[in-house]
């Protein structure tokens, strides 16, 4: 590796180990920070900004004011219900994070070296081998840090790991293409087929996303790159979870991607990330939105299967609610021990 590449680093939110939802097998998922889209329903709002961001968690706060004392910019103040961050003043120097005794002040995003991430990921190699899993780059949007992403993917590939790229496709084709030789599979988000609605929901039209997907399909057919391609569509009640969207995406897949799609995953919405919005001081429109019902999700999955694609590729995943019950196991906010991210685990009431 050249001296230049050695100095590459990137901004990463976290590594989630034993992820069971980011591709085949047991995986370690590296969440990149920064995303070109700003989907109104985003489950990882902390991943949108490419900058590191200080945030505050009420449940962890002792009220000791250490953070306020540590802030040389005067960006922090104590109010109701607690620490208020003046984000125009805050330069994310993280002095408050250092000073906070309880991790109530924390930072989204960390500058990481590929070697350090590789060291962490390799710790679970045996679980990847046993499960046919590997490592997934997700986000945020990995293609926003293309050199870093490439460095990581090639390093993992050299270590014999299965590599997956989870992308929204909003990047230049050249960027995406450069990653393909090091990527065993791509999980490609296709959220909304209608360009206007896509712009309304995500801030950007889907023109380039669809173009890139067509080229990706071609690359796969012609060069076998990537080796596998999955499409992922979030089912957002009243937004993307509509019959015409599912039918439209199905027709698109049929027309452009023929037989090459390994899986079309319909992922149901949940509001478990409400607390993340709170910690960023954002009022989230979806905080009260409930789960989609089994029936509704099921009928959308049927539409997908009937849309002309190979019915076997349609997978429905994520929590759903029983239409006639308010007490089913799946309709409560139900944090998975396995899939909790770091901040959720930390907030456990250990020694109340």
């Amino acid at each position: 590796m050249s001296a230049n590449e050695k100095n590459i680093s990137g901004t990463v939110l976290r590594i989630q180990r034993m992820s069971t939802e980011d591709g085949p097998g047991i995986r370690s998922t590296i969440f990149f920070k920064g995303c070109p889209l700003s989907c109104v329903w985003c489950h990882n709002p902390e991943s949108i900004s490419p900058q590191v961001q200080v945030h505050w968690a009420k449940t962890m706060c002792l009220g000791c004011r250490s953070c306020i004392e540590a802030c040389s910019k005067g960006a922090l103040a104590m109010a109701q219900p607690g620490i208020v961050i003046d984000r125009l003043v805050c330069n994310s120097c993280a002095a408050c994070v250092q000073a906070c005794p309880s991790t109530a002040m924390d930072i989204y995003g960390e500058n990481c070296k590929p070697d350090d991430l590789a060291h962490e990921v390799m710790k679970d190699k045996v679980y990847f081998q046993k499960s046919g899993g590997g490592v997934t780059l997700s986000g945020g949007e990995p293609t926003m840090q293309p050199l870093f992403a490439k460095e990581l993917l090639s390093a993992f590939q050299q270590s014999g790991l299965h590599t997956a790229l989870d992308t929204c496709g909003q990047c230049s084709w050249e960027t995406l293409e450069a990653l393909l030789p090091h990527t065993d599979m791509v999980m490609y988000d296709l959220k909304e087929i209608d360009p206007d609605k896509h712009k309304k929901f995500t801030g950007i039209s889907n023109t380039r996303i669809l173009e890139n997907l067509i080229r990706l399909g071609r690359s796969m057919k012609e060069r076998g790159l990537p080796g596998e391609l999955w499409i992922r569509t979030p089912l957002i009640p009243d937004f993307t979870a509509t019959p015409q969207n599912i039918k439209g995406i199905g027709a698109f897949i049929k027309e452009h991607l023929g037989e090459i799609i390994g899986r079309w995953e319909l992922c149901t919405f949940n509001n478990l990330c409400t607390h993340k919005y709170e910690s960023l001081g954002i009022d989230w429109a979806f905080k009260k939105t409930g789960l989609i019902s089994h029936e509704e999700a099921g009928s959308l999955a049927s539409l997908a299967r009937d849309s002309g694609v190979d019915a076997g590729i349609v997978h429905l995943s994520g929590p759903m609610r029983n239409a006639d019950s308010t007490e089913s196991m799946v309709d409560r906010p139900h944090k998975s021990v396995i899939n909790d991210d770091v901040s959720e685990c930390r907030s456990e009431g250990g020694y109340a």
């Binding site: 069971t20 679980y127 998975s336 770091v342 456990e348 009431g349």
Partner: protein
């Protein structure tokens, strides 16, 4: 349980299934509990002397909840004991001979024989409190060792009150030689004993050895004579039976009862012989189900299973026989049924071991393995017998599928998983450390098997006292911080009397004056050596009493080495005779040391004096420092190499020290393990605040698990840390077995609680299967998987009446959730939610 209430909340609680009318009736009857007309409550029996004692309190020294009741138990048993007419020569015999005769007399002639409706296995009542059979001089002498300031009762209470843990010579916790007893019958056992006796010199015959063998010969005739009584009963019942099918069953049962005196031939006979042989161990030890375990039952019963299937036994009927056996195993819990549902403890642990590796690395899973898993699946939730399923690199997919399927259908795995490579490496380590490679080596180590909860031993020749010593490693941290003294004055909660703080431990220096971390570590190391020495000394007190006053000649017949040496098992007669020191609060200790290093030496967040002040104040007024200790200091369980290196250092230190100790009276070597049963909850109320941020009154860490909530990197990281703490693996293939190390031959309890969502699709179940295969490579020796839903448990706290049969497993022992204490309930809930609280 009230199924309608459960359905109302639409939550999945495992229900029994595929039960015949017979088994449904027996199971329902069992769950009627105290309202049953028949039960297996203790009956007490006396020699009729004024000094007679039945209750052996030393067997309860490891159950701190019982300390206030030791004297009342003793008195109530004495008051309720019925006199037995003694043999005219009784008082001229040696103590083991008296004991053997007395237990046999009670079981064969005094305790009634009964058969429950439809039951296919004979052997009802066995919970006894028999006379200890002491003469007046023995009784006085023994009481002298128990009572008084220097007596073992006061000493063990001091040990517990001051946060060291507990210790006592306890019953069971072994795998008797059932396989041999089935094969040669008690006839064969008796013949062997007689030959050995006859071969003794006249001098030896007159001496201790002769007396022991005579006692064992008497004991060896007990099962046959009792079976004869049951055979008579079966014939009588058959004669009066109107239903032809049942009449045939009873007639066959009468015929079967030629066992266990004769060798078993059919599967029905083998299970019958196994049950009678087993239940009498509990009679002999006067203790219900104390980890008296069956070992590799799917291996040694397999020839009988195959024989009967070949000769026309319907496979379902074979399972029906097993289901009756299952019911019988649960009647241990009747012992104190009069006291109520909770009894003395809800965890016994008659383990059965299924599957696993065999000679040459061959997988030993067979049809009987699956039949037994089906029985477990059909019968559960039910506590006993407790299954451990052994997994290894070569476990077939079919078994893994079945295991994962059963886990996904239950609220907690209905079995504990044992991991062969890591476990066997531990046994090989034991062989190396103790110089017993002729008894444990690569040719037979595959026949290891767990007892009690998960404690690995060999079968039929091994008593390793797996629950006898339970030591709080954290005590050494307190003593190191305070120059060998307790932090706080001990005030007796009952009498209100306070003790002065004394120099209990060695003076290892004023911690405030330590300039380096190494100084503190050295101080901790010396205090660790001290607490282990202290524990061994306390254990010696009860061991030296048991060796003189508490023989169990019947059990001795079933353990190789006893007849050969002419020694009772309580005298260390077993070929493999260790006593195990089970460490408590491992992660709390590691995290505390990490916190001292981080806060005082590395980051200089506070001075040692401030830290000690904060701990003495139970963190009150020091909340910022406490938060730093909890959240900023490194923790074991995150696959963080630096923190895990501290875990390994702590592990190596206490293990090495443990191997150095031996009992004086019986020359049994101490070996290390990590069981920590429920002490990590109770002892959290005794030990003061710890540097990891834990206040007094909060539970300690459980066995080898990371501290609660510390494992923020998920199950793979958690498992990797556990594997590293045990010694990890040598990629160059060294290690004690196939590159594996395991410094804990006893094994270590590891519990991971996962959310049901991880198993809600075939694809997820495959991933979980792969996790288990990965655990085989990287993880510990035994894993308990809990799959619980916090809301369901909270509901069970509110309405326990609707959840009588809700099972949880903690540290590898099952408990009905509603019968465990509130703190433990809260802990289970905290563990399951991981953030939902």
């Amino acid at each position: 349980m009230n199924t309608s209430a459960a359905r109302k909340t639409a939550q999945k609680i495992k229900e029994p299934k595929n039960l015949s009318a017979r088994i449904t009736w027996l199971r329902d009857y069992y769950f009627q509990g105290a309202s049953r007309a028949w039960n297996n409550e203790f009956t007490a029996w006396t020699t009729g002397t004024s000094w007679d004692v039945q209750f052996d309190e030393m067997t309860f020294y490891i159950v701190p909840e019982t300390y206030p009741f030791l004297q009342p138990f003793r008195i109530s048993m004495q008051q309720n004991a019925k006199p037995v007419k003694l043999h005219p020569d009784f008082w001229s015999w040696s103590l083991p001979e008296r004991k053997a005769w007395f237990v046999k007399e009670v079981m064969v002639k005094c305790v009634p024989q009964e058969i429950l409706p439809g039951d296919l296995i004979a052997g009802g009542r066995f919970n006894l409190q028999t006379s200890m059979c002491w003469n007046e001089k023995e009784a006085k002498e023994r009481d002298g060792f128990i009572y008084g300031k220097k007596g073992v009762r006061a000493q063990m209470k001091w040990f517990h009150d001051h946060g060291y843990g507990n210790s006592g010579a306890t019953s069971g916790h072994l795998i008797p030689g059932y396989e041999r007893a089935l094969k040669i019958g008690w006839k064969g056992v008796c013949k062997d004993l007689e030959e050995r006796y006859n071969a003794l010199s006249p001098k030896d015959k007159k001496g201790k050895r002769g007396a022991q063998l005579r006692a064992m010969i008497t004991a060896s005739t007990m099962p046959g004579e009792l079976a004869g009584k049951y055979a008579n009963l079966c014939e009588k019942l058959a004669a009066a039976e109107k239903n032809a099918t049942r009449r045939d069953e009873l007639t066959q049962m009468a015929k079967n009862l030629r066992v266990p005196w004769e060798p078993a031939q059919t599967f029905w006979e083998a299970v019958q012989a196994l049950w009678l042989t087993h239940m009498l161990v509990m009679s002999d030890e006067n203790y219900p189900g104390p980890g008296v375990s069956f070992g590799r039952i799917d291996q040694y019963l397999l020839p009988y299973w195959q024989y009967s299937l070949k000769n026309g036994m319907d496979r379902e009927f074979g399972k029906e026989i097993l289901k009756c056996f299952w019911i019988h195993a649960n009647t241990v819990y009747d012992a104190m049924i009069g006291i109520g549902n909770q009894g003395i403890t809800s965890g016994y642990g008659q383990l059965i071991t299924l599957a696993g590796v065999g000679p040459g690395g061959r997988d030993m899973t067979n049809d009987l393995t699956y039949a037994m898993l089906e029985v477990i699946d059909d019968m559960s939730p039910l506590l006993e017998p407790k299954p451990n399923v052994r997994l290894h690199r070569g476990t077939p997919e079919e078994l893994l599928d079945k295991v994962v399927d059963m886990i996904s259908m239950s609220q907690g795995a209905p079995f504990l998983l044992n991991f062969d490579e890591r476990s066997m490496a531990g046994m090989m380590c034991e062989a190396r450390k103790a110089g017993v490679t002729h008894l444990i080596n690569e040719n037979n180590v595959h026949d290891y098997s767990p007892v009690g909860c998960l404690e690995n031993t060999m079968q039929g020749n091994d008593r390793s006292g797996t629950v006898d010593n339970n030591l709080d490693l954290l005590k050494a941290v307190e003593l190191a911080l305070n120059n060998g003294k307790d932090f706080h004055v001990f005030v007796d909660p009952i009498t209100g009397k306070s003790e002065k703080i004394k120099q209990d431990g060695p003076k290892t220096g004023d911690a405030v004056a330590f300039a380096t971390w190494e100084q503190f570590w050295n101080s901790y190391a010396e205090q660790t050596r001290f607490i282990i020495k202290r524990c061994a000394e306390l254990y010696e007190q009860s061991e030296s009493i048991r060796v003189r006053f508490c023989p169990t000649p019947y059990l001795s017949c079933l353990v190789k080495g006893c007849a050969e040496k002419g020694l009772d098992i309580t005298e260390g007669g077993a070929e493999l005779s260790f006593t195990t020191l089970e460490a408590i609060a491992f992660a709390t200790t590691v995290d505390s040391l990490l916190a001292v290093k981080h806060l005082v030496f590395d980051k200089k967040e506070c001075t040692m004096a401030e830290l000690i002040q904060a701990l003495k104040a139970n963190w009150k007024g020091y909340e910022k420092l406490q938060a730093k200790a909890r959240f900023k200091a490194p923790k074991y369980g995150r696959d963080d190499d630096e923190a895990d290196a501290m875990a390994k250092a702590v592990m190596d230190l206490w293990c090495e020290e443990t191997w150095k100790r031996r009992t004086v009276s019986t020359n049994r070597q101490f070996r290390p393990g990590m069981l920590s049963w429920n002490y990590w909850v109770g002892d959290g109320f005794i030990l003061p605040a710890s540097p990891d941020g834990r206040p007094k009154g909060r539970f300690l860490s459980n066995a080898i698990c990371p501290s609660n909530g510390a494992d923020i990197n998920g199950p793979t990281a958690n498992a990797n840390s556990v594997g590293k703490a045990l010694g990890g693996r040598d990629t160059a293939g060294k290690g004690d077995l196939q590159g594996y190390y395991n410094c804990l031959p006893n094994g270590a309890s590891h519990t991971i609680t996962i959310n049901p969502s991880l198993l809600n699709s075939p694809e997820h179940r495959d991933k979980f299967k792969a996790f288990l295969q990965g655990y085989t490579e990287n993880g510990g020796s035994a894993l308990q998987i809990n799959m619980l839903d916090a809301d369901m448990l909270r509901d069970a706290q509110k309405r326990p009446e609707d959840y009588r049969s809700l099972l949880v497993r903690i540290t590898g022992y099952n408990a009905y959730f509603t019968s465990i204490g509130r703190e433990l309930q809260d802990e289970v809930i905290a563990r399951i939610s991981h953030g939902a609280l």
